[in-house]
């Protein structure tokens, strides 16, 4: 005998199969006393949760109270039905990509990249584009078949596209790190709409990246691909190489 998980009905796990246990922490505009605690409990109950244990509360001042609770959910998910769009080209290392491109692409691919609009977090795009790279993986600049132009921080969408046209870019790379109030969605949408309006959308590969970007989200926003936290130049280079080999 052993514990058996049904993948069609997975549930959070605390210490017993399917106990549905979750930890929740939040502030409420409620007093730091039994009444506030009851408000917290009722709120969690209203959210459909069970076995609610409000294990801690503390006065935050200004009429707010912090609550920590453990609860059980009844929700389940069918793991077998989940499909996520992920970049599915194989990942090659630098030498392999160089070799692959020498054989299958046979020309330099021009890549123009930037942190657009209000965003100045360049570390991510630098990690992908610049010589030095990230975590011991060199950036695109180091590859034999990429010509890279990294425009840096807070580049207006218009300027990025103008540069892409000027340089006859094959690929546009866009980074968005700040996500507060979905500003990244706003900025990414602006760029892609501009590209469409200017008839550039289908002439270049549009790739975005950032800690809250997934390939799925990128596709949804009209990009060709998206790369999230922990992606490396190797991922991006391989993807581009395969694209231009076709």
């Amino acid at each position: 005998m052993s514990i058996k998980i049904d993948p069609t009905k997975i549930k959070p796990y605390g210490d017993s199969l399917d106990d549905g246990r979750m930890q929740i922490s939040f502030a409420l505009p409620a007093p730091a006393d039994e009444k506030g605690k009851e408000a917290a409990r009722l709120l969690l109950k209203k959210m459909g949760l069970e076995n609610i244990e409000v294990c801690y509360y503390s006065d935050l001042g200004e009429g707010f109270t912090h609550f920590v609770a453990y609860v059980s959910t009844n929700a389940t998910i069918d793991l077998t039905k989940i499909e996520v769009k992920t970049v599915d080209t194989p990942v090659m290392d630098l030498e392999e990509t160089d070799k692959f491109m020498a054989e299958n692409v046979k020309r330099k691919i021009t890549v123009v990249g930037a942190c657009i609009e209000s965003d100045a977090h360049t570390v991510g795009i630098d990690a992908i584009m610049n010589m030095k790279g990230y975590n011991h993986r060199f950036g695109l600049e180091r590859y034999q078949y990429f010509r890279t132009i990294n425009m840096g921080a807070q580049v207006p969408s218009e300027e990025l596209l103008a540069k892409a046209v000027e340089e006859n870019a094959d690929v546009v790379l866009v980074s968005q790190v700040v996500t507060q109030k979905n500003i990244h969605i706003r900025n990414l949408t602006k760029l892609i709409e501009l590209a469409e309006a200017e008839g550039l959308r289908d002439k270049m590969l549009f790739i975005c990246g950032g800690p809250r970007i997934s390939h799925e989200l990128a596709i949804e926003l009209g990009y060709d691909a998206g790369f999230g936290s922990g992606s490396y130049a190797t991922d991006v280079a391989s993807y581009i190489a395969f694209h231009f080999a076709k």
Partner: protein, 519 residues
């Protein structure tokens, strides 16, 4: 290492009082036995299983002998006598007794020579099994390398042994060195060891031989995968100390919670019973190469950790002496202490550090077991996570043997899968980030830390002197330990204590004593 400036004569003085306290109990340890010890002898003879109302056969046999008022000759003798007479195996004899088909006292006395021969054979065979487990452990450590220091020790406590295995394996993958399967709340006062695999417990999982086996197997599997020997521990405490130790020795547990006085003080078990039981229990652990661990942290869950710090030190010294007379080497004495000072106190961290250094200074060769903050956990999981980090820091810089990781959900529930993983991550980060911290600093001789350590040692010495003058039993009766009053005739399990007769036989104890070079 960060060194305290402590007079070694002071340490000697304290240690001498502890030795005096323990040595004054020879009359008890040599001349008495207990029902548990006898059940243990039966288990070591290979007797297992349940009968009747789900009662373990060792219990039924011992009850039978007790009823017949012949237990003081030792269960081993009666079994051997029947084995010789009936030409049956020990298990077969025991089953007949357990099902009321055989009265051991009705069998005529067989030639002494024969009885001794058969006992020699059975005990040799069964001790060999334990020795084999000891060797397997030793080889594994040789192959994979020694245990980390501080070893990462985490508990699993789902109540269901199968869930426990999942959690334990996950913990091993994350970096745990030692897995403790916490026992269900009510087990320690049971005067028998439950049988078979169990799936329901409260705040813990029952300690049974089958559960030990299941967990050992799981850990061996994951250990092989990881190229690391994962240690297993449980609790030789309560009313069945030596039985659990015997089971642990047979199923290759690697450590054992096994305190000389915990049962008396914190479970109200009779003092004679506990002291007798721990004596044999520890001998088994010594023989099996199992590291014992003690429970000094318990003093601080009921008393103030600053005011009563000396009780920890005193208990460590007493536990050390009890361990020595059972044959436990210092390298297998996991003396306990804890990080339990009210975090709101100014310089609380300095006091914690001082106490931990004192433990290390007194027992430089022991793999001391350091217990996490629990009492001042509030349910604020973030704060508790931080407290645990500070505790891990002290553990690393004072070179503790075993770090029992704190859980952020202390004061909420026994650890969930996530809690344990985060606890391990916490310890690994702190241990690694502060690795050589201890070699960077010299402690000022007249600072808060040194002064505090000196004071605690002094208080402990005074206390031990008083106890050594009064005698341990009298001191306990006077509530000198943890303000808890325990009397020689009070507490659970006194009815299981009996004097040995002249012709008492316990081949296991005899052989182990010889091998461990004890008198």
């Amino acid at each position: 290492m960060i060194q305290l400036t402590i007079d070694t004569n002071k340490i000697k003085e304290a240690r001498n009082y502890a030795a005096k306290i323990v040595n004054s109990l020879t009359w008890l340890l040599q001349d008495y036995t207990s029902t548990t010890i006898e059940r243990t002898v039966l288990r070591l003879m290979g007797i297992d299983g349940i009968a009747g109302d789900n009662t373990p056969i060792p219990n039924l046999v011992v009850e039978h002998l007790q009823q017949k008022k012949v237990l003081n000759r030792g269960a081993a003798y009666w079994l051997a006598n029947a084995i010789v007479a009936k030409n049956l195996s020990a298990q077969e004899v025991a089953e007949l007794v357990a099902t009321n088909q055989l009265d051991l006292t009705e069998i005529s006395a067989q030639p002494n020579q024969k009885v001794l021969e058969i006992l020699d054979k059975i005990s040799s065979e069964n001790l060999a099994k334990i020795a084999e487990q000891r060797q397997i452990r030793q080889q594994a450590f040789e192959k994979y390398g020694r245990r980390n220091k501080p070893a990462i020790y985490v508990i699993v406590a789902t109540g269901n042994i199968y869930d426990d295995v999942v959690q334990a394996k996950a913990a091993a993958r994350e970096g745990a060195d030692i897995i403790a399967v916490i026992r269900s709340t009510a087990q320690s006062l049971l005067d028998y060891v439950p049988y078979g695999a169990t799936t329901e417990g409260f705040g813990g999982t029952f300690a049974t031989q089958e559960n030990f086996r299941i967990m050992r197997k799981g850990l061996d599997e994951v250990g092989q995968e990881l190229g690391k020997y994962i240690s297993l521990t449980n609790y030789a405490s309560g009313l069945c100390m030596p039985e659990i130790s015997a089971m642990g020795a047979l199923e290759r547990l690697d450590c054992m919670l096994n305190d000389a006085m915990y049962g008396i003080l914190f479970r109200d078990i009779n003092m004679k019973r506990t002291l007798l039981d721990q004596y044999f229990s520890r001998m088994i652990n010594a023989y099996a190469g199992i590291q014992i661990q003690t429970g000094e942290d318990n003093y601080l869950t009921t008393s103030d950790a600053i005011e009563k710090a000396y009780t920890v030190t005193a208990s460590q010294l007493i536990n050390e002496q009890f361990a020595l007379i059972s044959g436990i080497e210092h390298k297998n004495m996991g003396l306990g202490h804890a990080f339990e000072i009210n975090p709101a106190i100014e310089n609380s961290f300095l006091y914690e550090l001082s106490h931990a250094l004192l433990t290390h200074t007194l027992f430089p060769d022991c793999p001391t077991k350091y217990m996490p903050p629990t009492k001042f956990a509030t349910g604020n999981i973030f704060r508790t996570y931080l407290l645990n980090g500070m505790f891990n820091f002290v553990g690393q810089i004072t070179d503790q043997g075993t770090q029992l990781l704190g859980m952020m959900t202390e004061a909420v529930h026994t650890p969930h899968l996530v809690d344990r993983a985060l606890a391990i991550e916490n310890a690994q980060y702190v241990f690694n980030a502060t690795k050589d911290f201890k070699n960077e600093f010299t402690l000022k001789p007249d600072g808060i830390i040194n002064k505090r350590a000196k004071q605690v040692l002094e208080e402990a010495t005074d206390f031990l002197r008083k106890v050594s003058e009064k005698g341990l039993f009298q001191a306990m009766s006077a509530g000198e330990f943890a303000d808890i009053v325990r009397t020689e005739t009070g507490g659970k399990g006194l009815d299981g204590v009996l004097p040995k007769s002249e012709d008492y036989l316990n081949p296991f104890m005899d052989k182990m004593k010889t091998e461990l070079k004890l008198q």
